[in-house]
C-alpha cells in the first residue's frame, strides 16, 4: 500500500513513505508542499499545467505515480531561479506578458526550458508546436510565444549552459 521512496527534487533528496497510488503531482504539491506546480484539469492529462522535468525531460506529473520517480531527479518551477535571479524564461514571461492569471505558466516554462535545450534557436512555428501540450486560457498565446522566443535569444547570446543534472 505504501512504499519508501527517495526522490531528488530541485537538488534536494526527499525520503518519504507514500501510498503506491499517489500521483507525482500530489507528491510534489501535498507532500513536499511545492505548490508552484499546478493542477488545472483534474488529473486528466490534457492541460499541461502540472508539467515538471523528470531527469531533465518534460513530463506531466499527473500522468505518473510518485513511486515511479523513486531514485530519479525531478525539477519543478521552484528549481529554476538561482539565488533569487529569475531564469531567462521567467524573466521573459514577465516582460513579454506571457501570463495573465499565471496558472499555466509553471508548466509552460518547465516544458519550454527543456525544449530550448533540445532546440536553442527555434522558429515561431517550432515554439507553437512545442507548446501544444500546455493550455492557456488567458493570453491567446502571443505573449507566451514572444517570451519563449526572447528567452531563446537571450540564452543563445549568453551561452547559457544546460542545467546540471539534466
Amino acid at each position: 500500500m505504501t512504499r519508501e521512496i527517495s526522490v531528488t527534487v530541485n537538488g534536494t533528496v526527499h525520503r518519504k513513505s507514500v501510498p503506491v497510488r499517489l500521483l507525482l503531482v500530489d507528491f510534489i504539491r501535498d507532500v513536499l508542499e511545492l505548490t508552484g506546480t499546478h493542477q488545472a484539469c483534474t488529473y486528466e492529462g490534457v492541460c499541461g499545467a502540472c508539467t515538471v522535468q523528470l531527469n531533465g525531460e518534460a513530463v506531466k506529473s499527473c500522468m505518473m505515480l510518485a513511486v515511479q520517480a523513486d531514485g530519479q531527479q525531478v525539477t519543478t518551477i521552484e528549481g529554476l531561479a538561482k539565488d533569487g535571479a529569475l531564469h531567462p524564461l521567467q524573466k521573459a514571461f514577465k516582460e513579454h506578458h506571457g501570463l495573465q492569471c499565471g496558472f499555466c505558466t509553471s508548466g509552460m516554462i518547465m516544458n519550454a526550458e527543456e525544449f530550448l535545450r533540445v532546440n536553442p534557436r527555434p522558429t515561431e512555428e517550432e515554439i507553437r508546436h512545442a507548446l501544444i501540450g500546455n493550455i492557456c486560457r488567458c493570453t491567446g498565446y502571443q505573449g507566451i510565444v514572444a517570451a519563449v522566443s526572447a528567452a531563446a535569444e537571450e540564452m543563445s547570446a549568453a551561452g547559457t549552459p544546460a542545467r546540471s543534472g539534466s
Binding site: 503506491v20 497510488r21 508539467t51 506531466k60 499527473c62 500522468m63 516544458n111 527543456e114 501544444i132 501540450g133
Partner: protein, 295 residues
C-alpha cells in the same frame, strides 16, 4: 481522477524479473509502459490492479537496432527516441512520422511503441504505421514461450490484440529490403497532433524508379481500427510510378474500399475525402523517399 488502491509496485530491471513479479502477484498484476493510456484508465477506475509492474528500467526492451537485415525496435522505446532515430529506421520512416506527431512533447517523452501497440486504441498512430511497415511482433507469453506474430494477426480490433493475460510485448521487427524502399505516415485530427480522425500509412519497395515490387497501405480512423487497403495496394503494385494519375487512382480506390463512419465532429463522406487526400500525399512521399535511394 485518482487510481484505486494499488498494493504493490515493482520496477524490474530485466524481462525475467518482470515475469517473476507478474507470476508472484498471482495474476492480479498489470505491466505499465509509458502509462499515457494506462494511467488514464486507472485514474478513471476503468482498470485497477493489485500489483503494478513498471517496465521503464528494463533496458533490454529499449532501443532501435538495425543489424543483419533486420530492424528491431524495443517495446519500451519512447516516441521521442523513435523520432530521433529516424535515420536508423531506414525504410520504416512511417514509424518516425507517427512518433513525431503523437500528442505533445510531454507525451512523446513518456509514451512507448510497445504501450501503444498493446493498448491498440481504435484511433492511434503507431499501430497503423506498424501495419503498413509489415512488422513482426515479438511476444513473451505468460508461460515463458517466445512467439512472433505478424502485425496483421496481432491487431485484432479496437483495444484487442494477440496478447493474452500476462503476455509481454517485447518489440517489433521488420526485414529491411535489399532494394530501395521507404514509407510515410500522415494524419488529420481536429487539433494539431491529435488522435487521428483519419491517418494513412504507406510502405513501398521499388523494383525500379517507375515500378513497385511491394506496397502496403494502411488506414486508421475506421470503426474497426486500423486496416489494410488491399485493393489500393494491388493497384499501386502494378502502377507506373511516373504516372501521377495512377497515384490518384490508388488513393480513390483506398477511399472507396474503406468504410467510414461519422463521429460528432466529422462526417463519413469527409473522412473518405481525407483518406483519398492523405493516401495520395503519403504515396507521393513514400515513393519520393524510396527513389532518393536510387543512384
Amino acid at each position: 481522477m485518482y487510481p484505486a488502491t494499488i498494493d504493490q509496485y515493482h520496477r524490474p530491471k530485466t524481462v525475467d524479473e518482470a515475469r517473476s513479479a507478474y507470476a508472484a502477484a498471482g495474476g492480479e498484476a498489470m505491466y505499465i509502459a509509458g502509462g499515457m493510456s494506462l494511467m488514464q484508465a486507472m485514474k478513471s477506475r476503468v482498470l485497477s490492479c493489485r500489483a503494478l509492474i513498471d517496465l521503464s528500467q528494463v533496458s533490454e526492451l529499449r532501443g532501435v537496432e538495425n543489424s543483419a537485415g533486420r530492424l528491431r525496435i524495443g517495446a519500451m522505446t519512447r516516441y521521442r527516441a523513435v523520432g530521433e532515430a529516424r535515420a536508423a529506421l531506414g525504410p520504416f520512416q512511417a514509424l518516425a512520422d507517427a512518433a513525431d506527431r503523437v500528442g505533445d512533447r510531454q507525451v512523446r517523452n513518456r509514451g512507448t511503441v510497445g504501450g501503444s501497440l498493446s493498448w491498440n486504441f481504435v484511433v492511434a498512430c503507431t499501430p497503423v504505421a506498424a501495419l503498413a511497415c509489415g512488422a513482426t511482433v515479438s511476444i513473451l507469453r505468460v508461460d515463458g514461450r517466445r512467439e512472433s506474430v505478424s502485425i496483421d494477426d496481432f491487431l485484432q480490433g479496437p483495444m484487442t490484440t494477440a496478447l493474452g493475460e500476462g503476455d509481454l510485448l517485447l518489440g517489433i521487427e521488420m526485414a529491411v529490403p535489399a532494394g530501395p524502399a521507404s514509407s510515410a505516415y500522415g494524419k488529420w485530427g481536429v487539433v494539431t497532433d491529435a488522435l487521428p480522425t483519419i491517418g494513412v500509412a504507406v510502405f513501398v519497395e521499388l523494383a525500379s524508379a517507375s515500378a513497385c515490387r511491394n506496397a502496403r497501405i494502411a488506414v486508421v480512423g475506421l470503426p474497426g481500427g486500423p486496416a489494410r487497403a488491399a485493393k489500393a495496394e494491388a493497384r499501386l503494385k502494378s502502377a507506373n510510378l511516373d504516372d501521377a494519375a495512377a497515384f490518384a487512382a490508388c488513393a480513390k480506390e483506398a477511399a472507396a474500399e474503406c468504410e467510414t463512419a461519422a463521429d460528432p465532429w466529422v462526417g463519413a463522406d469527409y473522412k473518405s475525402h481525407l483518406i483519398e487526400r492523405l493516401c495520395l500525399e503519403m504515396i507521393g512521399t513514400a515513393v519520393r523517399r524510396a527513389r532518393s535511394q536510387l543512384s
